[in-house]
Symmetry: C2
Subunit: 469 residues, 2 copies
């Protein structure tokens, strides 16, 4: 194969015979499009109609061994006929969790938005990559416009940003940018020779802060956990003490990762107060608003993030509270000095030619640590375009509801109720312990498909499932 390439001296390919059986394209469009159309019908019926119907189950629980047989999971050397493949499509839909079901309270994503869904199908069909204007003219502009819209909500008139594959990666970007700004030589020389760097975040922040510190070579020991109050909010006084302590021990504090909407309690850290400390100690202020960021759409609730405009960076996942669909996750930056590109650029000549016939500043690829980057902005743009009076509409989405702690002595109650729940498939909600408290249910309720009846159902169903234990 490698022999097929012209060598640097320009010799001809040695096996031109390879091209001989290429008289016709290899694809049958009509048959393929029929398959796709049939799949679309199954999606409409099984996922979008039955999957959102309260009379249907949220899940059709199967043990892994049984499910593998039902799906005919095994990959073989021989292909299957179209009819059999359509049965696979139907089975995948049947045995998958119906995350759009009104009684799916299990995760920080749920629901369905049809404009977003249309944007997602279109994105998949167009199958392109968000690194140059040349290859994605529409999406480069759409991404910039969506980022501008999000900037405005944060309170910035300008700035930078990028869509990332999830909030954890956005948080890592923030860490990498913060340390690069402080020590630009890190990019070429690495961490050697630099003092120990320290990150501060609340004890209830997302685990991705530690994951990021490990990946970036900073180490989880250098993520200092700041105490929280009863509501789960970072205590600024404890933050200041810990900053002082780290400095006195010879470490270099460089970043505070605040949380707007913690994963379990949904708490919002006091951003304004923390911003004062970041200014005082010259630290990068990052806000992990993966879950909570969408309150910025609500004039009623945006006060929860007061001070966010003073942050250096904000991670915000519209795939969560805004129902934009996985994945849709933006990192927003206040920076206007092209820090993102300076920090991440590699200037590959095959992709980012500087002698192009258009403004190469439109090529966003060098802002990313990825090369291929999925288009995640179109769906949000389309649903944003669709919403009548976005502020008041989105306010209705924003209802958090966390169940009361189950103060039973036995932590086994929640896991048992959960098992019964999954096997009956009537609803889905997650449980977990916290600090010295036993397992409790964390009900996440924000999907536009939920009504009061579903919340009543939730409480009654927990009671019913808990009988005869």
């Amino acid at each position: 194969m490698a022999n097929n390439f012209p060598s640097s001296s320009g010799t001809q390919p040695k096996e031109p015979a390879l091209l001989h059986d290429l008289n016709e394209p290899l694809i049958e469009h009509a048959e393929g499009q029929l398959f796709l159309t049939e799949t679309f019908k199954i999606i409409l019926e099984e996922v979008l109609c039955k999957g959102t119907d309260v009379k249907e189950k949220v899940c059709e629980w199967k043990e892994p061994e049984e499910l593998a047989v039902l799906l005919d999971l095994e990959l073989r050397d021989t292909g299957e006929p179209q009819g059999k493949l359509l049965k696979r499509v139907k089975d995948v839909a049947k045995y998958s969790i119906k995350t759009s079901h009104p009684r799916f309270f299990n995760q920080l994503f749920a629901g369905v938005d049809y404009h977003s869904m249309a944007g997602r199908f279109l994105t998949e069909a167009l199958n392109t990559n968000l690194y140059t204007y040349e290859i994605a003219p529409v999406f480069v502009l759409v991404e910039a416009e969506v980022l501008r819209g999000m900037h405005r909500l944060v309170g910035w008139t300008e700035g930078d940003g990028i869509f990332c594959p999830g909030g954890s990666i956005s948080n890592m970007y923030a860490m990498n940018l913060a340390r690069y700004q402080l020590f630009p030589e890190i990019k070429s020389r690495g961490l050697w020779g630099l003092p120990r760097l320290t990150i501060f975040t609340s004890a209830e922040s997302h685990y991705s802060v530690k994951k990021g510190a490990a990946l970036l070579g900073i180490g989880t020991d250098h993520v200092i956990l700041v105490k929280v109050d009863d509501g789960g909010r970072m205590i600024p006084e404890d933050l200041e003490e810990k900053i002082k302590l780290a400095k006195s021990e010879g470490s270099v504090p460089f970043l505070v990762s605040c949380t707007s909407g913690t994963t379990v309690k949904g708490a919002f850290d006091p951003l304004d107060h923390i911003a004062n400390l970041c200014e005082k100690y010259m630290l990068w202020m990052h806000v992990d608003a993966a879950w909570g960021g969408s309150v910025l759409f609500s004039s009623k609730h945006r006060h929860l993030m007061k001070g966010v405009d003073r942050a250096n960076s904000v991670a915000w996942n519209p795939h969560k509270m805004l129902v934009a669909g996985l994945q849709c996750s933006a990192l927003l930056l206040r920076d206007t000095t092209n820090l993102l590109k300076r920090c991440h650029s590699a200037s590959a000549t095959y992709l980012f030619q500087q002698d192009k016939f258009y403004d190469v500043n439109l090529d966003t690829g060098d802002k990313s640590v990825q090369c291929s980057r999925k288009v995640d902005c179109l769906k949000l743009w389309l649903m944003w375009k669709a919403v009548e009076n976005i502020s008041s509409t989105l306010e209705r989405y924003i209802i958090f509801f966390i169940s009361k702690y189950y103060q039973e002595q036995l932590s086994k109650v929640a896991p048992l109720i959960k098992e019964r729940m999954m096997k009956e498939g009537t609803m889905m909600v997650g449980y977990q312990p916290q600090e010295n408290r036993v397992n409790f249910f964390r009900v996440v309720a924000f999907s536009p498909l939920i009504s009061q009846k579903d919340m009543d159902f939730f409480l009654n169903e927990i009671e019913r499932l808990g009988k005869n234990m």
Copy 2:
């Protein structure tokens, strides 16, 4: 909002009134499904029929300012009616690049596979997350089966792996795993106190190796570029010299990143030879087979990757040569000691409860540095299921063709031809310089939609576009 949460002492929400306007769900399914159906029709017509028709243009070039107006890009506070939104959908399709067009030779992705497309639509509709069996029972099993299939092709009977958001991230994973295996304390303590770590890769390897080294705190200076031969393949003798040199300077070599299918020339490094050196010097052998990995499906061409079974890790993107659609990118590991999980785990209690009612080894989330992780395996599983005699079918895909270098004195020829090409929209192909050679066209030809006629067209069209310069 934060006041709505019960505090740890169990007080009631203070604003139960919030639930009052929730008597009905907020969504109109019928209208939404109609919009989605209309979008599907547009996708069929504009993207899949016209977009793959040689009589139609590959792109409808517009300058950014003009395109912004045509799309009515701006996001406003008021919503648009369905008819207008459908026009947006149509316009997005119209002005986007037709990457499935037979005359799109521009990138390492192209073409369309309808079974994959069906899998992608289904994935989007099911909207779930690949971190626990509970939330993605079908996809956890499908991912494991697809990884098993890929392992077999690499030549392993067991191993580990994970789908990542692109090959660059897969390459970073390999770096992180390699250094963690050598110095497990890195995860908690970071790079401080450790000797300088060195990575080796060929001068023609992908730029993500340097990007990864920068992100991981290793630094681009510690990526040593090994010389290549005329065909663009790493020279093992130079590798050995550079390993010895680094050691003599007090560095710790820990990883060789080989390439199977370089980005510009499509060269395959001599894996067996490099494996000997990795064994001799006890280095982690990683193979970046993002582009070339798919030759493993071909009994005729898999010899190009002889020795890949001796690697510790392989990055392979079926979204490239296999036409699986962006993104579809796997990291494969020979390891059977749960290294991936040990290196990346954070054991979040809200997600990875250990008292679940099923085998928690099925929860894959702690293998990832992400939290939310998109489902990228279903489309590959479905197309794999569909292919009759996969080995011989895929062999037809595997045709590389790199155009002859334009040995003109002026490097401006290719950019000018490119400009004319884009503005007429007749085809798309990328150009770049290399070493001391001027700009040349890099024709990527592997899509199943291409026939001999399209290759003829390519050569004639370059000639036509180049007239009157």
